[in-house]
Subunit: 161 residues, 2 copies
Amino acid sequence: MTRTLTARPLDPKAFAPFGEVIAAEGPPDRIINAGRCGRFHDRARLDVDGRAGISVFRSESVTLPHAFSLVERHPLGSQAFLPMTQSPFLVIVAPDEGGRPGTPVAFVSAPGQGVNIGRNVWHGVLTPLADPGLFAVVDRCAEGPNLEEYTYDQPWTVVPG
Amino acid sequence: MTRTLTARPLDPKAFAPFGEVIAAEGPPDRIINAGRCGRFHDRARLDVDGRAGISVFRSESVTLPHAFSLVERHPLGSQAFLPMTQSPFLVIVAPDEGGRPGTPVAFVSAPGQGVNIGRNVWHGVLTPLADPGLFAVVDRCAEGPNLEEYTYDQPWTVVPG
């Protein structure tokens, strides 16, 4: 049996239970560089045990409809995905229900939107919707296991909104 | 009198005295997500007194030739600029010579390249070469003065390489 999720626009309020949308939204917090630049300040809750670092992920893209059954979470830290292109990507997250992921929610980003996924929040792996799937990633860069995976017994299929 | 700088390609080795180029360069350090994604791990030296955070900068673009006389540096931390588009940006940096900036060096980025500018490294303000000039920025998000500015007595003009 097919279980379907409709991808909704990545909205900061709808995403709030899972983390933060990182974007130049609303008025800038500061104007700098002689008026030429707006700073949208401190838009993610970095929450990392040990040292955080900046990495780059280069991922093959997926197309909609997109089927998945695997999600994961990181008990030792948040993970921010900052697209290095203006192409959209899917953000799949799920609430925790007693140590297991519940029904997932799928978002699709607009240009200029990144996300910070909270510590221990269930999420799908990186799913850009166009090549090159390039992201700067701010997450824990320290030794030790920091991955929990869960495979749904039936796949979910994400369709366009 | 006009003083000219030729913008050179943003090369990790040439940039090394000033910080790190953050990019998917060379072989990935790890392959993740069932082979679909390469992780280029921990590519910047985050060096921040106090808490680091993620902000977004939206800057008006500049065109070449580009004249400037102001540079700045941050004594309390490194600052990473991660472009959220594939458009090039200028990276202007300068060596320190006894507490003042020496002759600047100008780099122009390729798609998929960000930079981390080291703590206390003299640099120009953000200069995207196309709109929208959108960048995720990882730097110090804590109170207290963290800015030193210097104005050259004559402007420098950056020209294409």
